[in-house]
Symmetry: C2
Subunit: 413 residues, 2 copies
């Protein structure tokens, strides 16, 4: 908070700014960069010359049809794909996937694998993750030295420093310091990210028009998760990844949640909760895993006739609506992206959701709150992990110099 700016930080920050402008814009010319950053042409010229010389950027002359204007044509700057690579690891229920991504953001290799996360012992789970990463790193096509960062994403709660998985619904194991494990094993800096946070990061890159400064990504799957971006920055808890929207209280003392408590939003809106309700089982019934196919069949049945299935989705919508209402009371309304298998059934959820939200203070202009849906969360999570790792490389590896101030007030996060 109260640490001064050193003279050498200046160049570092402006380097980072230029790299970030190129990553965001694709192939901007120097003039464009000068415009978006507010720096002078001479500064941009000097910095980009450095970056090209170091192999971080390249001039991409032969680009577009340049809209034949008069004057010296602009030279597009692009990220050099070979400047570095990052590796993403996504661990979800019974499924592990890894991808290698070049510096320009293109996937260059990937591998997927099924495994029984729910019953695997600790050593084995860790071992499988390490093994799949090792296989990718041993790929002869890959220059292992260029892999600069590993970002791992997992469903569940991670710590606020993105180092460890604290708790996850996909395994009974807790407190696995995946980031440290991967770093020690491969000597490559790593992070352990929360799945919904990565969804939010990915949405921000995919559609910056709609998802820019303030928005919410909600995962409607077995459990209910949330990634929240406020004022352009990812929101996290003070100690954990935070944003446990699914465990806000919908009805005190109500239905049994997978977390062992009662009345959470998830206990009404998670897949298992919708299933339980549709099957007319007790609210105290132990949560069970429901496959995606079963959920799709359930949604189909609910669309077909007005029965307990439709009522189950209605109740899910109500829980989500009141939960969002409470959330909006705190942060004001914002666009929402519904992600996951039950997002495909959002037509069944939306009416009750809107009705509930309209009864809350946060829903004052509930008609204007817009929802978008995306049934497949895995690609989003991987994309988010990739962008997270790449922007880390941009800022901390290719624009260094602000080495954690040794003197005093460091902990800059």
């Amino acid at each position: 908070m109260s640490v001064g700016i050193r003279h050498d930080d200046l160049r570092r920050r402006n380097r980072a700014m230029v790299i970030s402008a190129v990553r965001r814009a694709g192939q901007p010319s120097r003039t464009e960069i000068a415009a978006t950053t507010g720096l002078s042409h001479s500064t941009i010229s000097a910095i980009s010359a450095d970056l090209i010389q170091e192999g971080i950027l390249t001039e991409s002359k032969a680009s577009e049809p340049t809209a034949l204007k008069r004057g010296r044509p602009q030279i597009g700057l692009a990220l050099n794909p070979e400047a570095a690579a990052v590796l993403t690891v996504v661990l979800s229920l019974n499924f592990l996937s890894v991808a290698v991504i070049d510096y320009a953001g293109q996937v260059v290799a990937e591998e997927q694998q099924r495994l029984d996360t729910l019953v695997m012992p600790r050593d084995e789970l860790i071992g499988e993750c390490v093994a799949i990463v090792r296989r990718r790193l041993q790929d002869p096509d890959l220059d292992i030295g260029s892999v600069a960062r590993i970002a791992m994403g997992i469903q569940g709660i991670t710590d606020s420093h993105a180092r460890a998985m604290l708790w996850s619904p996909i395994t009974p194991l807790t407190d696995i310091p995946f980031a440290d494990i991967l770093e020690k094993e491969f000597g490559i800096s790593a992070t352990m990210e929360n799945d919904c946070n990565m969804m939010a990061v990915a949405l921000q890159w995919r559609d910056p028009e709609r998802y820019r400064d303030d928005f919410i990504a909600i995962l409607l799957s077995h459990g209910i998760g949330m990634g929240l971006v406020l004022k352009g920055a990812l929101f996290t808890g003070t100690h954990s990844s935070g944003g446990e929207f699914g465990h806000m209280i919908h009805r005190p003392g109500g239905a049994l949640c997978r977390c062992g408590r009662r009345g959470c939003v998830e206990a009404y809106a998670g897949n298992y909760a919708i299933w339980r309700s549709a099957m007319k089982m007790s609210e105290d019934a132990e949560p069970v895993d429901v496959g995606d196919a079963d959920m799709r069949a359930l949604a189909a049945k609910a669309r077909e006739r007005d029965g307990p299935e439709r009522e189950a989705y209605r109740r899910a919508g109500e829980a989500l609506g009141f939960g969002l209402g409470s959330l909006f009371a705190l942060i004001d309304p914002a666009p929402v992206a519904m992600v996951g298998v039950s997002a495909a059934a959002f037509d069944l959820i939306e009416p009750a959701l809107r009705e509930a939200i309209a009864q809350t203070a946060g829903g004052q202009h509930s008609e204007s709150i817009s929802f978008d849906t995306e049934p497949n969360e895995l690609p989003l999570i991987r994309e988010g992990c990739a962008m997270r790792a790449l922007t880390f490389v941009d800022q901390e590896i290719f624009a260094p110099g602000g080495q954690a101030r040794v003197g005093t007030g460091k902990n800059v996060a």
Copy 2:
């Protein structure tokens, strides 16, 4: 987000850093400032020489007994009280108070006044606020030219730019642009702040040990309000002052809230709600104003015997507990300060609150969550307004130069 750092910004930021270090530490020496900011001695020396020359800081030689050490004695730097002044205006239910505060933070004049906020027409309410400010500014002891900022605080919702009151429980009027009104009237820059946010700001200055990076200030009064500090910064909504904890949903479709909706936390924990419940009135009964004396009497009776009064406080505690549980699910647990007349009855509220919070995901370590109480909110609100105004002067008036980049990529918020 993506705006470069200009060369001249550097000095401006480091100037601001030095001023802020002095305001925080009281009478630090140049060496201490160098240590806390991480800047070199030469830089601190140069900047503080400028600031002294400009009359912003003063050397306070004849200070402490300096613990007679060897070596050249440290020279304490202090804020020059005459460098500027700020004015605070706090408007609460039937009460208006104004204070003039010097640059070092000392109150140099104040004035208070009763008025019927609930029934005053718009012109009159605005007129009274303007009039009391004018009287203070006309004080012959005050150099009007030195008044650099006005900070007004009000109970209710303000916009996120701190310009206008959007809605307030103390008046049926809405959307009063107080900041603009005061600026036009007096030609002094002004803001319109939310009362609970100012409470939080004040706590951060009063007790930085306890209230530093993450904490919550909750106003237990007629209504329920909240000020939230996360990662050291005041949290606000995306469009309004946000943090409307009192209007999170406790029981969907439940008791009637003053906001016209049902089941809000406030409808169980606001003074009127506790009163309604203790008097065994219907949950649909229209909220009424209850005086502080009546509330104290109610609390006394609740302590005396186990009757409907005690039950009313229990229900308030339950609502607050589940609300906090939901909040903690989002941001993780943090220290809480309970402020306002019902904070004096926190002994009656706490047991049920802790019981409720323990049933939520956010309350996993509920024993370790600590509560502090402060029955009187008005001094806190004034203090917060004063510090807000003073730090604005510190940063924007005495460390300028970063004038809203004219060129292009502005909208820096």
